[in-house]
Symmetry: C2
Subunit: 247 residues, 2 copies
Amino acid sequence: MTVTPLIRKLEQFVRLSPGDRTILTRASSERVRKFAARADIIREGDQPKDVHLILSGWACRYKQLEDGRRQVMSFFLPGDMCDLNVFILKEMDHSIGTITAVAIADLSRDFFDEIGAGYPRIATALWWETLVNAAIQREWTMNLGQRTAFERMAHLLCEIFLRLRLAGLNDGLDCQFPLTQADLADATGLSKVHVNRTLQELRAAGLVVLNRKTLNVPSLERLMNAGLFNANYLHMNHEGSQLDANE
Amino acid sequence: MTVTPLIRKLEQFVRLSPGDRTILTRASSERVRKFAARADIIREGDQPKDVHLILSGWACRYKQLEDGRRQVMSFFLPGDMCDLNVFILKEMDHSIGTITAVAIADLSRDFFDEIGAGYPRIATALWWETLVNAAIQREWTMNLGQRTAFERMAHLLCEIFLRLRLAGLNDGLDCQFPLTQADLADATGLSKVHVNRTLQELRAAGLVVLNRKTLNVPSLERLMNAGLFNANYLHMNHEGSQLDANE
DNA sequence: CGATTTATTGAATCGACTCAATTGATGTGG
DNA sequence: CCACATCAATTGAGTCGATTCAATAAATCG
């Protein structure tokens, strides 16, 4: 049940068989852990032991400089997982912290061996996810390097909105939006004050309605234009039929 | 011979057997293509057919907005390869262009199937490379979002210097450095003028000597301090002994 | 060698930041 | 369920880092 976002997302790319869904569901119900909001799941310097799959709630990767400057490098939404095979590294080079209360499933090396050996569709879908995550990280580079505050914020909101939709987590034009302006500041490299002013501009332009932890996007097309948003990097154009599940 | 940077780099992480080296050398000598400086290897929108391995020369990933703003999202040095399994995507979301004259080897899907089936050490090393590349991309996010122009430039120069060293391509305190100030501007999100001024600051601080396409770093430690550089994200602390090659 | 690219400098401007104070929401314990 | 405490959002004013525009100098290439 809680795995739905993952399955839903992977099926954007491959059509999963009942057996595929079963093993994903099983893996998502063993070794579940819960965290409060604003807690760390793993810290820079820790030894990574498992791959974390977000079952519910929002989290983020972040890194901090000695003087306190903090950068959020990505957001994890339900159905997202941290790097495949992280456990081959000796230590984490960043931290993963929660935004809201979060439930995760810890996925072991054995699980991925099993997938590699007997679940080629899942393996392919996980590669696709890995490539999309890399593309998202590159797009953030573009966002921080080239876009103005206004464009950057519009772009980020577009991305989150679309990613929630891929995971089946939005409701028409609305979605849950638990990020504070401080979170947005850390993700966009802007100051909190400027985030506030930028959001006001977006509101004034009629591009977003954002309050009480809810985001409403009256016209995704207009928001995309404002953010110079090209969805190609999300590689969604597959209609779930890349591989067939003739089991 | 030209594969040396790749083998050298991978051996930071695993100890390769003679058989491992043979297949890497073979794959690097079949299907070699050469490009002039400032040419595109593949463009956004193209269908990716192979994984590209840089045998010699420097290249970069980049993306451009309609109005011409350009962001370099990563540099490819000899021994680097573009995303594993890119060919599962329908189209490229960015372009790859050369900086200098470049020779690449095109690696096919079959090659990677072969690696997966019979060369576990190489497979592990390629995963390590993938994870390090993801970490580098995240660090660029940090760089663009949080560091000042001065720190950012110092950080970038550190990273390139260390990566060249990993591939066995620098000579003591010196290394080849074919990037123009315009390239640095596109990579750091700064204007060309400001890159120029920032480099002058770095020179004035005695942190770098940079001219005639050569970079000299008198004290890597001081440059690292200036860039708030923490090398943990390169995951180099493995001494090539992660897995043994008892063939 | 001239032609073109790359690097450098100066001056004026602007986007985003800092500092500081205020308002508004949220949440918790008594 | 209110009162207080805390966290989140908003506003104003002054400043600064980095930008743009424009011109010149130096390097590189054919």
